[in-house]
Subunit: 747 residues, 2 copies
Amino acid sequence: MIVFASFRGRLIARGNEPPIGQRFSCLSFNSVVSAQTILACDSSRHCDNMVSTSAPTPNSSNQAPINPMESLGAERKSPSFPVREMTYFVDGDKEATLLKEEIMLELERDPNWKIDDYPNLSLAEIRERTMAKVRRMADDLLTKSKEQVFQKMAMISVVDPGFWTRFGVHIGLFFGALQGQATPSQLSYWLERGAMTMQGIIGCFGMTELGHGSNVAGLETTATFDKNTDEFVIHTPTITATKWWIGGAAHTATHCAVYAQLIIDGKRYGVKTFVVQLRDPETFQLMPGVNIGDIGKKMGRDQIDNGWIQFTNVRIPRSHMLMKHTKVTREGKVIDPPMAQLAYGALILGRVSMVNDSGNVSKRALTIAIRYAAIRRQFASGPGQVETKLLDYPIHQHRLIPLLAQTFAMIFGAREMNTNYQNLMAQINSEKQENMQALLENLKETHATSAGLKAFCTWMCLNIIDQCRQSLGGHGYSAYTGLSTSYQDFVVHCTWEGDNTILTLQCGRYLVSMANQAKKGKPLPKNMSYLGEFVKSRTHPSCKGVSVEDVCSFKTLREAWGCVAANAIIQAANEFEEALKKGLDKDAAYEQCSASRLHAARMHVFTHLFNRFSEAAEASPDSLRPTLTKLAVLFATHSATQHSGEFLQCGYYNNEQIYTIKRHVSELCADLRNDAVSIVDSFNYSDYVINSPLGCFDGNIYVKYFDLVKRNNPQNEIPYFEKLIKPLLNRSVDSDGGPELEIDQEE
Amino acid sequence: MIVFASFRGRLIARGNEPPIGQRFSCLSFNSVVSAQTILACDSSRHCDNMVSTSAPTPNSSNQAPINPMESLGAERKSPSFPVREMTYFVDGDKEATLLKEEIMLELERDPNWKIDDYPNLSLAEIRERTMAKVRRMADDLLTKSKEQVFQKMAMISVVDPGFWTRFGVHIGLFFGALQGQATPSQLSYWLERGAMTMQGIIGCFGMTELGHGSNVAGLETTATFDKNTDEFVIHTPTITATKWWIGGAAHTATHCAVYAQLIIDGKRYGVKTFVVQLRDPETFQLMPGVNIGDIGKKMGRDQIDNGWIQFTNVRIPRSHMLMKHTKVTREGKVIDPPMAQLAYGALILGRVSMVNDSGNVSKRALTIAIRYAAIRRQFASGPGQVETKLLDYPIHQHRLIPLLAQTFAMIFGAREMNTNYQNLMAQINSEKQENMQALLENLKETHATSAGLKAFCTWMCLNIIDQCRQSLGGHGYSAYTGLSTSYQDFVVHCTWEGDNTILTLQCGRYLVSMANQAKKGKPLPKNMSYLGEFVKSRTHPSCKGVSVEDVCSFKTLREAWGCVAANAIIQAANEFEEALKKGLDKDAAYEQCSASRLHAARMHVFTHLFNRFSEAAEASPDSLRPTLTKLAVLFATHSATQHSGEFLQCGYYNNEQIYTIKRHVSELCADLRNDAVSIVDSFNYSDYVINSPLGCFDGNIYVKYFDLVKRNNPQNEIPYFEKLIKPLLNRSVDSDGGPELEIDQEE
């Protein structure tokens, strides 16, 4: 059997060396292998020494184990920048930091907010505990300022993403729908009944259906007007029309904002929104004609009770259709609303928050991975030597340090995005909207950039989480070390709020339109100026420098990325034009160049992030600028090595310069390694927020990890020993071959 | 609050168009958003139409929903190749296919092997059900052939990876250790006691410790010889010495193969292996001095009960030390074994199996994603049109079709790897090992290639799983659609059996040594011939062609990839030499060039996979060759676009040729799209193995998905309504401001 061959002689040793299978245990298991072996995986020198014949390090085992806390403490001895200053700068200012610290303390001290036992809770237990947290947050809505609630939700999005979703469904989606779509008298009607504060009403948001997502115009649920009774009849005609993924429907909501096809006298008027009661708030019994079920387990975020809903001819008064925009009269006359392109503005904030979340979640992942790498030791560099820290291996630096740079890029990208958004909304909401055209241009640009940032930042963060998790070796696979669940919760960010791929295409579509504007010599918005300059200058720029200083300066890197992004955009625009020439309609032509649009969006977003990052570094205090500058250059150069083909194709860098950049990436990783622990310290997350024993501030990782595992897994009797194990151990497999046949004896 | 602004006016409509928020709902949620919105995500034309002003498709909702089964059936009407032939070719031959079908049927019919309710089972329930399966497999060991067991385990690795691990711990690791390290009399002693068949003994494998993984020489557990009693004393001296991740220890094992430092008269002799009894098989009580706990929840594979073990001066007879190699006499004299480099061979099979597993798991993921994409419709191309299939969108083809090509590359790469391994082991095990030197060279080459393949194929498969999951839109986040759990189970492959990063470095170290051999004009093994040719030819090759046929032929692509790989290897070798010149020792020099070694390994593995794939295509039957050729070219060209910088830097392709390649990738995706469903059909997995309603063969995805969700989540009362929800709904938050102060009235 396989295992025989593969294990034969595994531990034969040679000379005085320890047995090979022991020296290289991380390689020595055959495919039938247990999770124990996943510990055998940390980056190391000798482990990587497989086919060489260099001597092993038997003496390393004589070394007394190094104190983990001392290992981490040593990293903090001489940071090259003031850590607290960095915290203020990254948070925005000192006040922002103090508010975050207040929120972390508040959550940590609230027994409702215990989170370190999540891995062992059942779906039912998680749902119940989450509901227990909802009340306090509901009261916060009455007692706290918008800024306080916003900041608290942002922190909760790192601490407990599933709660963030469950709470958000009511206030963000259901009440948000009332805000956006109810008439003043409708809104006050629902407010009086506690629709905002959950005093009588808890809402959910009934848009998506089993067979219909993006194309809301294709929803099947119907709302048919009955003129005789002045009612709408809400109905689910098919299985694919079943409302699906409705957060809060399974366990929580009394009411639902239902999206359905308005039908009057057999004519369809498109999808409108109707408030439908689901349950009796006194008994929680389902209302007649309403059928609801639990959608159950998900990859993550089990705190939120997503459900499905089917309506069977449920009648509601006409006044339950939200009529801020489209109105239906007593006679069944439909009055359409005036135009309002400005609604686009509403699409942006979600993206901004998710870009922000990407930075925040990355901060946590890197705090865990870098503190662990500064403590965990594997293999000695020679006989009698202390084992080497993971963080001292160049390859481990290459794994983690560039991710630190990406995290800063997302933080500063999110900050500028948020500022632009605030200005835009102020502009939109100001009574006198002079210069409407400029406003709309600003709107389009902000929308496109936010779409691109949301997609690439959530993808970037997801990669950071898993890279950090893998860098923990086997311990990263445990549910108690904080990154496996983080991945499972975060990954949905890449899908909701618009599938990332679709968002990149929207961004790309805008970039193509900008290219055409530029060709016509029209002015472009500030963020697109690099494209305008590129199109203007008939002669394409290229890097003349040779030294690292010349090749990797902010100025050069900005020009380089601008050149690459402009090149990609123009490429997509040309493909679009060619498709039109071939006679395709506009939409078909855009589909034809979709791969190039996606690529153009990626190059644009990296360029955008680097520009924001480098500007922030330049604007930073003298004490922080050297560190932030190194990180910004690392972001740009590391990303450039990932896309070196683009730089060579547009002729900005030549072969030699690309090699110079690759070398510089290694130099920057080695340099920043010395500040790595101080940098993650500056992220200033408490151990409660980190919620991983391997990332704790004091470095006492093994004791805390062991304690956490024991607390969550008390030693009990094995429940199925008598039933399953004992019979297995005691079984006999003897079987006679049946009776001897005479015919066999005759032979 | 954020939600107000972000929802304000979201549903304001313009002209006769449906409200914007409805047309673009996938974009319209603010960050406080529920999982329902993740349905709103499928790739689509109009959804991607955000900032354009083209007309919406209100009529699409008038379309009767298309029958999903008809949608899928239409895809099977005219495959361009014989599907069953492809199955035989991919499986190896007809017999292999029939055996797989027999195994699938056997598992599907066995009630113990029910798997579609896993998402809702508790950790305890999963553990118990898995134990119930163990017995039947234990009997298989007695009744089935090696090949049957091997194939069954390979299939189980797709169906239930956690069981595969739990069963493998006993037979692969524990019994494998006895096989490899026990003397003949020791082995028969343990065999008599049922150590192989679990009749009296169930084993686990006690190597890794909380603080020690790769560096087994650094393990802390001690085995001290007591001359007076002829016993070893097994002891855990520190917390970091706690045996950790020990699969089967928490619930299952009676005995453990313990790796510990052999100490005699105060002198250390390195790590040896000792059989220690953990539990009384009659009562399952822990033996004196043995303390065990459960490590609990993991990211996946909860079927296996990983545990921790601490020994406190546990005494075992001297004869329980496995002495096939190192021996300890009654007087405490240590006799070291003869050398035996051939043990390297044992390291390879595990990798081969994991490369094989990568192909098998990818087949399943793509079957689900492609069948869904052939059924799911989103947005009509015009008023009154039927909605478009996801698979018809070029961007969706770009997302999935190249992954199909990668899957075939892994399948053929694994097959050749397996053949080489079998030949190698035969060579090793043959009595007369004439030409030992050639054997050792073969061994090194096979080892290095398997290390590289394991790393890059497990990473590739992991990416395929998540890309397929994301391509399902919101449904991919459900635990019932089969890909979220697959990711969580598979991801550990990237860590155990040697952390992928370490394996790439080992491969890279070998490649550097090959470069130096080549420079010295020494012959290289067949798989490395491209490097030898590259070094020999002073003039570097480059592509002269212009047409797609010239630029993307097998011949050209092989030369191109060989050129790129050789270039990367020589680059790493040069960095290594420079480091030596700077005075670093060999190990330090290898660390210095680790990033370049990793890159060289990646380029080598892609080259290797393409060479195997293209050879297989050339050797395939006429009826299959056109399809396999397209897939092989897609693999090579798509991978080339991902690393275009390498091709430009080594001067093999020029800018124009790179653009030609990029265009050809799109052409191949569009072409292969027509056979996509037939290709995944040829993978020939039963619905039981697919275990995802969205990937079922008949295409009845919505009915099966809904049924599965309902079966797993029966509608019950909400348990915490009275306790938590009712008080929330009925609460009052009125609070007076305290007594009126006289001083205030005085003012």
